[in-house]
Point group: D2
Chain length 239, copies 4
C-alpha cells in the first residue's frame, strides 16, 4: 500500500464563496477522495489547522508520498515544518507540489530556486499538452487535457532545468508554462503539476486525477534511508 | 573571426512564388546578410546545387559553425555528406538546425532520435517565449517574440530532453512547441531553433536575427579535435 | 512477461581459448541463463551467425528489451539491422548495451555520439561504485561491486551527458569511467553498463547479474508506438 | 573586470600548524593571489572574522563571483548571510564552492540536497580526470591532474544530477568522486570543485589554479536582475 498524505492550507475554502461551493470539505478532501478509489493507495489528510500543520515526524515516517497545496498562507507554515518535509524527501519520501505550491517553503527549499513565475488571475482556457507518452506519469493520459478555466501561469518559471518535462500548458491569453516537471533530491522524487486554481473544478477532471494517481506511484520511494549521513569510511583499498 | 557556413537546400525559393518573392536569392543569402553585419563573423554559403552539397571536408575544416535549413529535399542530401557533418560536430564544429531541419539527416544522426513532430500548415500567429534571460543565446532578446505568421509545430517533438530549453512557442491555433533547445555531442554544441517557414518573412525579424547571431557565438567551438579517437593507453598508475 | 532478446556477436568464444573456457556456449547463453531464473522474464538469444543477425522485424516486434554484446565484429552487423534496432528503440523497445557495445552501430546511432573511450587491456582490479541507491537499477546492489579483473575503460567517454549516472568504475591502474548510464530516445529507454570483458568471469558475478536483471525491468517499455509519425494535425483551437 | 570575492572561514589556518605553514595568510589570500595575476579579474576577500562575515548586501552587489571555502565553522555562518548569498545567486551572481563547502549553508540551500558525502582523512594520492575538454572550465587543463595528497571524498555524493560533470576524482585508497560539477539556479551559475584540503598545498598547483580561473569566467553573470519577482501580467493576447 502506498501511504499518501494530502496537505492543504485549507484557507480559500473558508473565505471564498466560489471555492467553498466547489470544495465544501476542502481540496484535500477532493484529492483524497479520488486517490482512495485506488486499491494500492491509502490516504491521510492534514491542514494548517492541525497542530504542527499535521506534519509531525511521526506522520512523515508513515508517509510514502506527500501532496502539497498552498497559496495564501505559505508564510504560516513554520520553517521547522518545511525543513522536516525537505529532510523526509532527502531520505526518500515522494513529494507532489500542486499549483501555487510553486511558492511554498518546502518546494523552494528542495529546488534551491526562487520558484517565481508570472501569472494573471483570469478565466483563460488552458490546453495542457502531454510532451511524451513514454513515462509512467502520462500513462493513459490523452495528447492534451482541456480545462475550461485555469489561472494563467507564465514563463519564466524559476526552477532548475527539470529532469523530465512532461506537460506544457497553453493558455488562451497567450502564455505558455512548464506545467509538469520531475526532479530528484537525494533519495526523493518530486513532481510539480500546475493545474488546480481554487475557484475552478480542476480536481474533478478525470484526466487531472489520472495524472495525480500516476504521479503518486511514480514518486513512491525506491529506497528510503533513516537519515542522510556523512560517513567517515575506513581505508578500503585492497592491498 | 567566427567562420559560419549557411547551408540551404534552396528548393522552395525556386518553385514557390511567395517564397521567391520573400527570399529572391534564397534564405541562405538572407541569413548570411544579417550575420555579415557582425564584425566577428565571416559567412560562406552552400546549397544542394553545389557539388557534394558544397559540404566537402575542406569546407567543414574551415567552418566553425554550420547553419542548416532543409525541408523538401532532406533525402537528396547523400548519407556521406550527413556523416561528414556529424563527424565534424563530434570534433567540435557548432551546428544550428533551423525550422524543418528537425527532420534533416545530420540533425537526426546527431540527436539519435526520430526528430518527429506534429504540424499544421497554417498562418497561425506565434508568440515565442523566452524561458530564461540568463543564457548567451537569449541576451538582449525580449520576453517574447511575436511572429504574425508561422507554421504551427506541435508536441510531442521527438528529441532527447534538451540540455537547456530556451524558447517555447505558443500558437494561436492552440499548440505549444519546444522551439529553442541546446544539445552537446562529443566536442560540438547544437542549437535547434523552430522559426523560419519559407513563405513567411521570419528571417527579416530583428529578434529572430539576434537569436541566431547569439547562437552562432554560443556554439562556436571551445575545443576542436582532429578526430575522435579510441586511444589504447599505457598503464599510468604511480607505483 | 518481459520478453528479452540477448544478442551476442559470438566471436571471441570461438577463437579465444580463455573466453571459450569461461563461456563455452557463448556469453549470450550465460546471460540468458541468469535472466531465466526470474519468473517475469522470458529469454531468446540471437547471434551474428543467424540470418539477418537474428534481428528481424518479427523478432523485434516480440522483444521488449534487447541486450547487446559486440566487440570484434561491429562492422559485420549490416547497417539495416542497426537501423531496425534504432527504430524499435524509438518505438519503445528497451536497449541494454554491455561493455564494448559502446562502439556498436545501434548504440552510436541512438546516442548520436562517437561512443569513443580510452582503454587498456589489462588485468586491473575494478571497484564499481554505486552512485545512488535510489534507482530501480541499483535496488539491492551493494555500495560497490568488486571485480578481480576487468579491462580498463577510461574517460573521456564520448557519450552525451547521461540522464542518470548510476555507476562509476575505479580501476587499480589509475582510471575512472562512467560505467552505468541511462538515456532516453523517443519512447525507448537505454542503459549502458561497462563490465563484461570476454576473458573474465564477470557475468557470473551475482551483483553484476542483479544489475542486469534490474535494468531489464527498468528499460521495459512504458509505451510502445507502432511507428514514430509526423502527423499533420487539423486546426484544433476552440473558437 | 570580473569582481571576485573570496570567502574563507579562516579557522584551520589559525589552529592547525600544518595549515598555518602552508597558508600563513589564509587560503583566501592564496586564492586571491593567483586570481589577481589575471588582467580581467579584481579580487576582494572576506572571512568569518568580518562583521556579517564580510558578506553584506553592499559586498554582494559589487561581486560578480563569490568563491566559498568553509569546513569547521559552517554553523557559525548566520542563516541570514546564507540566504543573502542564495538570493544573490538567484539574481545572477556566480558561486564557486570549494572542497568542504559541499556542506556549507549557501551550497546546500542552492542545491536543495543534503550535500552529504563519504570521506576518509588520509594522505591518498588523487588523480583528477577531465571528463571533457570541450568546456570553458577545462580549457588548457590536462587530461588529468595529479595531487600527491588529498583528502578522500567518496560517492554517494548528495547532489542533484549535475548539469555538466567535468571532473571525476580517483583516489589511491579505492574511491571515486564527482569532483567538478556545474549547476544553475535561476540566473546564477554554480561550480563545485572538490580539491583543496587545508593541510595540503593544493591551491598552489598550477592546474588547480587554472581550473578556478576558468571557472570564475564561466560563472560570471550573463544576466543579473534586481530581484526575482512574481509579476502579475496583464492580458497580453492579440485580439
Amino acid at each position: 500500500m502506498i501511504r499518501v498524505t494530502v496537505w492543504n492550507e485549507f484557507v480559500h475554502e473558508k473565505s471564498n464563496a466560489k471555492c467553498k461551493e466547489l470544495y465544501p470539505f476542502g481540496m484535500h478532501k477532493a484529492i483524497a477522495d479520488f486517490l482512495s478509489e485506488e486499491e494500492d493507495i491509502v490516504v491521510h489528510t492534514a491542514t494548517l489547522d492541525d497542530e504542527e500543520c499535521g506534519i509531525t515526524e511521526e506522520v512523515l515516517k508513515n508517509t510514502d508520498v506527500l501532496i502539497w497545496w498552498g497559496h495564501a498562507a505559505h508564510h504560516k507554515v513554520p520553517d521547522e515544518v518545511a525543513v522536516r518535509v525537505r529532510d523526509a524527501v532527502h531520505n526518500g519520501m515522494g513529494f507532489i507540489a500542486l499549483h501555487s505550491a510553486h511558492n511554498s517553503k518546502p518546494f523552494k527549499m528542495l529546488l534551491g530556486t526562487a520558484g517565481n513565475l508570472s501569472w494573471r488571475e483570469s478565466k483563460d482556457f488552458e490546453r495542457l499538452w502531454t510532451i511524451t507518452h513514454a513515462h509512467p506519469i502520462t500513462a493513459d493520459v490523452p495528447d492534451y487535457i482541456e480545462l475550461e478555466m485555469e489561472e494563467t501561469y507564465a514563463e519564466p518559471f524559476g526552477i532548475p532545468e527539470p529532469d523530465e518535462l512532461l506537460f506544457i500548458g497553453w493558455y488562451s491569453g497567450g502564455e505558455v508554462f512548464r506545467s509538469g516537471c520531475t526532479f530528484k533530491r537525494n533519495n526523493g522524487k518530486i513532481f510539480y503539476f500546475q493545474p488546480g486554481h481554487e475557484t475552478f473544478p480542476t480536481y474533478y477532471n478525470e484526466h487531472i486525477q489520472k495524472v495525480i494517481k500516476n504521479a503518486v506511484r511514480y514518486v513512491t520511494p525506491v529506497y528510503r534511508s533513516e537519515k542522510i549521513e556523512f560517513p567517515n569510511i575506513p581505508k578500503t583499498n585492497k592491498e
